[in-house]
């Protein structure tokens, strides 16, 4: 589904990604782990089409289609979803209205009619129950005054609404208490199918107890230096990242 080959990217003069290779197939969950500053969030941002970064080499494709020339919204229309580490506050625009706009724009781009209002309400009800979100919450301004946990839960609610092909969860666990973490993970697991794929970006192993990855990759200094199965995450939790750094230097 997602294919990244020899991806190099920089911001200004600074090279952040130095040759990333990653293959994600439908039905898989991948975890990307690594210390702060390794380039995890940059990678997520670049897949989603953030124009602040310059891709200097390599390619990203989704189901064989090159994404590099596509604007962020075009990538979204093709099924790329990024759960933001720091979701943005949009005063005056309710969660519901925002979702309605996002869904209908996506449908329009894919040659579909707008979703009828009653169907929209039904889906909203369904998905908000999945994330245990209070209905009142949905009429509040998007992310404005939300707690850290509410913002993250709202991100996954949006993912549930948009049903992306590829979901990248960037530090979705940060700022979540254990109950919220369980709700979010439960939501993600229910959305998981053999038709979509999930890339979880995290610093800590904690989230991976709930969303169990098929593959774990370690990102260090702009490169994936080690890949393994779920047990690698446990090993990292126990030993930290230093041993990998040493392995690299050796």
């Amino acid at each position: 589904m997602l294919s990244i080959k020899n991806l190099h990217a920089s911001i200004g003069d600074k090279e952040i990604l130095k040759g990333i290779n990653l293959e994600v197939k439908a039905g898989e969950i991948h975890a990307i782990m690594g210390p702060n500053g390794a380039g995890k969030s940059t990678l997520a941002s670049i897949i989603a089409g953030n124009e602040n970064y310059e891709v200097t080499e390599g390619e990203i494709s989704l189901d064989g289609e090159d994404l590099s020339e596509l604007a962020p919204e075009e990538r979204a229309h093709k099924g790329v979803f990024l759960s933001f580490q720091y979701p943005v506050e949009i005063p005056g625009v309710s969660v519901t209205n925002f979702m309605r706009t996002a869904i209908n724009e996506t449908r329009k781009a894919n040659g579909l009619e707008e979703m009828p209002a009653n169907e929209m309400l039904k889906v909203i009800r369904e998905k908000s129950e999945l994330l245990e979100i209070d209905r009142k919450f949905l009429s509040r301004s998007l992310n404005e005054g939300f707690s850290g946990g509410e913002k993250k839960r709202n991100e996954i609610f949006q993912m549930a609404m948009l049903e992306p092909k590829l979901a990248i969860l960037d530090e979705t666990d940060s700022g979540l208490d254990i109950d919220a973490l369980r709700i979010v993970a439960n939501g993600v697991n229910k959305l998981k199918s053999d038709k979509n794929a999930i890339v979880v970006i995290t610093h800590y192993q904690r989230l991976l107890d709930y969303i169990v990855p098929d593959f774990v990759h370690v990102l260090l200094n702009g490169k994936i230096v080690k890949s393994g199965d779920a047990s690698l995450a446990l090993e990292l939790e126990e030993k930290g990242y230093d041993w990998i750094k040493q392995e690299q230097e050796a």
């Binding site: 089409g49 720091y86 949009i90 209205n97 706009t101 996002a102 949006q158």
Partner: protein, 438 residues
């Protein structure tokens, strides 16, 4: 003959035409003298550094319009808040239109300044309030005072609540090639009384108009006053709005200015405090383009302890439009425990658009909280990326962000139908059909 000479030479004829008592004659004469000495303001004056009236004053304005110009309600209905009941004081080319208006004398006075100025029963009120808070040194205010004849007179007595909003509407028909109008409003809100006022100036065709308006508002103890100024006029309309607010203790006055239209708009908004625990709100949204110019020139004079003022101005400027925000806060030595806040946030959407933002704080008391913040920027890129990531195209995302940007001020509108109306104007101004009703 230029406009200044034309005005001065027509003064005698003007006074003969209207019925004035001796005191008013003296007030007018003194005002005319001041205007004669100072003339129209020029860019040489600090207060007019960024706003030039030169081009506007080149028009050959008619200073006294013909008496009878009629318009049909159906043609102008859209300018009124027609979804709800309101009192209406309507003027056509400066002349009162009784058939478009809905005035009252039942419990509250919602009527005409011309009758208040001439009828004996209003004499005490006129002597007490007329031209009392307006700045006698300011030349355009003086010009208005000299020729003050018609406008709204609103008097809400002690503990009365105006049961519906009052709309003050000034239409110009364009039956004159170029028209100068000088409305004068006097608004007195008694102790514990409450009123909501909407004011609008609207030209009905493309002939140039210059409006030099003066409004005096007196808010007595614990009075509650909300004023909404809707400035969404044609590109040939020019407005100089001089508003003076006098507040007694524990009163709360909000003036919300929505500037979307017009060629040149200057808002001189002045608040004066005369008691403790007064709250003043000055809010504004400016969304302009082409070569439009909007200048907000505010003054809050904190003279008494324990008072608050909140200024929140948002501006979005595209094309070659220019904006000015000059916010002066004056805290006198006696005004301890003052809370005075001022914000002016601006977004420039084009390289050729300009904003001049200038906060001016003069603080002579030592125990006060004052803050000011002027920001000038482009749209937040992270927020744009966030919305695009959710599939919202760049153009819609931009519109949504601008709406979000002006939201804090939209939220301060207390009349739901008006809020809806303003929101709609903003959505149209932003030029984008949103995927939903805001």
């Amino acid at each position: 003959m230029d406009l200044k000479e034309k005005l001065i030479s027509s003064f005698m004829a003007f006074e003969e035409r209207i019925d004035v008592h001796a005191e008013l004659h003296d007030v007018r004469t003194a005002a005319l003298k001041n205007f004669e000495n100072k003339g129209f303001p020029s860019k040489k004056e600090e207060a007019w550094k960024y706003t030039s009236l030169n081009a506007v004053l080149k028009n050959d304005f008619t200073v006294f319009p013909k008496q009878e110009n009629e318009i049909q309600y159906s043609d102008v209905k859209k300018y009124f808040l027609h979804e709800i009941d309101s009192y209406k004081i309507v003027f056509i080319d400066g002349v009162f239109s009784s058939h478009l208006s809905a005035t009252t004398h039942e419990g509250i006075d919602v009527c005409l300044l011309s009758s208040a100025l001439t009828k004996p029963k209003y004499k005490t009120i006129i002597d007490t309030y007329f031209n009392q808070i307006a700045n006698k040194e300011e030349s355009l205010t003086s010009l208005n005072t000299a020729f003050a004849n018609e406008g709204a007179y609103i008097n809400i007595p002690k503990s009365k609540i105006a049961d519906r909003p009052i709309e003050i509407m000034y239409f110009s028909t364009g039956n004159e090639a170029a028209l100068l109008v000088q409305p004068r409003n006097l608004i007195i809100v008694g102790e514990n009384a409450h009123v909501q006022i909407i004011e609008r100036h609207q030209s009905l065709n493309e002939n140039p108009v210059l409006t030099n308006s003066v409004t005096e508002i007196f808010a007595q103890k614990r009075a509650l006053v909300d004023v909404y100024k809707i400035q969404n006029d044609n590109l040939t309309a020019n407005l100089i709005d001089n508003t003076y607010v006098s507040q007694q203790e524990e009163s709360s006055v909000a003036v919300n200015t929505f500037s979307f239209g017009g060629n040149l708009t200057r808002n001189n908004l002045n608040f004066y405090h005369f008691g403790e625990r007064i709250v003043s709100y000055l809010n504004g949204i400016t969304i302009i383009g082409e070569k439009q110019h909007v200048d907000h020139y505010t003054l809050v004079q904190h003279a008494t302890p324990n008072c608050e003022s909140h200024q929140d101005y948002k501006g979005i400027f595209s094309d070659r439009s220019t904006g000015v925000f000059n916010g002066k806060i004056f805290v006198e030595r006696e005004a301890q425990k003052t809370n005075a806040f001022q914000k002016s946030n601006n977004i420039l959407l084009s390289d050729k658009a300009t904003i001049n933002a200038k906060p001016q704080l003069e603080i002579f008391a030592d125990d006060v909280k004052c803050s000011h913040g002027c920001t000038i920027g482009q749209l937040d890129e992270t927020a744009m990326f966030y919305m695009q990531q959710r599939g919202i195209p760049k153009k819609e995302a931009k519109a949504l962000l601008m709406y979000a940007f002006s939201n804090a001020v939209i939220e301060s509108i207390k009349i739901p139908e008006l809020k809806q109306r303003i929101t709609k104007i903003i959505a149209t101004k932003l030029g984008v059909k949103m995927g939903f009703d805001l």
